[in-house]
């Protein structure tokens, strides 16, 4: 068993009483004061997330754009410097290798690809294997990443970095010159709230975190663990790799067709998606609420009244915002419209559920 990696913010988590757990090979804080309190603070004020475990792969050189067009599903040629896009890496069967964000640093020749922590090595190897002549570098060990999320996130970042980033649009990013080098300050997130995800060199991370904590005191800032990160994204029905999306799921089933640009030219996984689009998907990812007491969880079966299999729960929790049990899951396509009923099998009992509109929670940032 390899020893767990620590982010440059490990000491900050210990100081803040973070409860450290193993996650994707890293020692990460799952919570500080409590998942519900942290969740509510992000919806109401602002929270800091250490997401330094996520991977940073740089793609550069004259063939950078060609390579990314072939490796990813979205149209990278549309990106101007300072713009970012949500995208996917697919396998040749059209299954999802990972979900990613592509940041255009210099058009055509220099891009940052942010990947999931658990997939960093897999993605890097995949990109290198299918490279079309770009320079591909896994710089994950050099970069920290801090997410600042919540209705007061913009104000907080302005307190620390100045007003420069206030006018950055959603899915755009600016730069900041830090002591250790350049930072990328992106108006993106995984909570549904307004805010930033900030890439910065490891050496700059502790000081920036401390500044955010100190200057954010009057704004009610709190550090937020992985527990609340998961409940926040579940309320938005954002996909989590390993749950909603895997090597076996298609973006068309997962509701991610909007980041698949079939017209842009060839890319890995395109052909099976063209065929699937033609034939139609047999299952769809939906959000549902439980109509009886209980909590749906990852892996629980979705069944008909008679107990016939209809699908599976991919994520579920008690929504801290709604105080209701919510779930995400794959269900037979004919049962995917709002108001459709099925049952979640929980410890041998079938509990009624109904498909609802998503995101489950309305936020200003969404």
């Amino acid at each position: 068993m390899d020893s767990l990696k620590r982010t440059p913010l490990y000491e900050e988590h210990i100081k803040a009483n973070g409860r450290m757990v193993p996650f994707a090979g890293w020692e990460m804080p799952v919570q500080y004061r409590g998942v519900i309190e942290e969740h509510e603070n992000v919806r109401k004020n602002v929270g800091l997330f250490d997401v330094s475990h996520m991977g940073e792969v740089f793609v550069s050189g004259p063939k950078a754009l060609d390579s990314l067009q072939y490796l990813t599903t979205n149209d990278v040629s549309k990106l101007e410097p300072g713009q970012a896009q949500y995208s996917l890496l697919l396998n040749p069967n059209g299954g999802i290798v990972d979900d990613i964000i592509v940041y255009c640093i210099e058009k055509g020749v220099h891009y940052l690809v942010c990947v999931n922590a658990s997939n960093t090595e897999k993605d890097y190897q995949w990109m290198v294997k299918n490279n079309k002549g770009a320079v591909i570098e896994n710089q994950s060990d050099r970069w920290a990443q801090i997410a600042v999320q919540g209705p007061r996130a913009v104000e907080l970042v302005a307190h620390v970095l100045g007003p420069k980033h206030q006018n950055t649009e959603t899915f755009e990013f600016g730069t900041h010159q830090g002591p250790g080098g350049i930072w990328y300050v992106a108006r993106t997130g995984y909570t549904g709230e307004d805010g930033y995800e900030i890439f910065l060199p490891n050496s700059d991370a502790p000081r920036f975190w401390q500044d955010l904590m100190n200057k954010g005191n009057s704004l009610g800032v709190q550090p937020i663990g992985l527990g609340a990160r998961d409940t926040l994204r579940t309320e938005m029905k954002y996909s989590l790799y390993g749950n909603e999306i895997t090597d076996e799921t298609s973006p068309l089933e997962a509701g991610l067709g909007w980041v698949v640009k079939l017209q842009k030219g060839d890319f890995i996984g395109r052909a099976p998606l063209v065929a699937l689009k033609e034939s139609g998907v047999s299952r769809k990812l939906v959000g549902f609420k439980l109509l009886e007491k209980g909590i749906p969880r990852h892996g629980y079966p979705l069944v008909s009244e008679k107990g016939d299999s209809l699908g599976v729960v991919t994520s579920g929790t008690m929504s801290p915002t709604l105080k209701e049990a919510i779930g995400i899951g794959y269900v037979a396509a004919h049962l995917s419209s709002e108001g459709s009923r099925f049952f979640v099998q929980i410890r041998g009992r079938n509990l009624a559920a109904s498909v609802v509109k998503t995101p489950f929670v309305k936020t200003k940032g969404e």
Binding site: V35, T231, R297, M318
Partner: protein, 128 residues
């Protein structure tokens, strides 16, 4: 960490407590357990009259992020269920040894009590 371990209770390795009064055993989870679990948002308990078996699951407690089985410290018949904890699961966090109690069991045999842990042993278990 300094978790409270009332001296008048007995304990299981799965972090339930048992309070014995004549042939009735009240059951809950320990302060250590509720802290490890985090905020409890759902509790599922058996019905009155249901049989439970020592060491077997009799219900679940769930936090936002996890499901944990509850294990019966003793075999017997459920004679009382704490309905208020089902309505307000946070009581398990706020008062695990009091208002957060879960069920009362009429035990089949006092002999099984010998397999439960005294407070001193439980203290050692959670210090590991």
């Amino acid at each position: 960490m300094g978790f409270t371990i009332p001296t008048e209770f007995m304990y299981t390795k799965d972090h339930e407590w048992a309070q014995v009064e004549d042939n009735l055993v009240s059951v809950g989870i320990t302060e250590y357990a509720q802290d490890a679990l985090g905020e409890v948002v759902y509790v599922e308990l058996p019905e009155e009259g249901q049989k439970v078996t020592q060491g077997e699951p009799f219900g679940v407690v769930e936090s936002v992020k996890a499901v944990s089985d509850l294990y019966a410290p003793i075999s017997g018949t459920v004679v009382e269920v704490n309905e208020s904890v089902i309505e307000s699961p946070g009581q398990v966090n706020d008062d695990p040894y009091g208002d957060g109690w879960l069920i009362r069991i009429e035990m089949d045999s006092e002999k099984e009590l010998a397999t439960l842990m005294p407070p001193s042993d439980y203290e050692k278990l959670i210090k590991k």
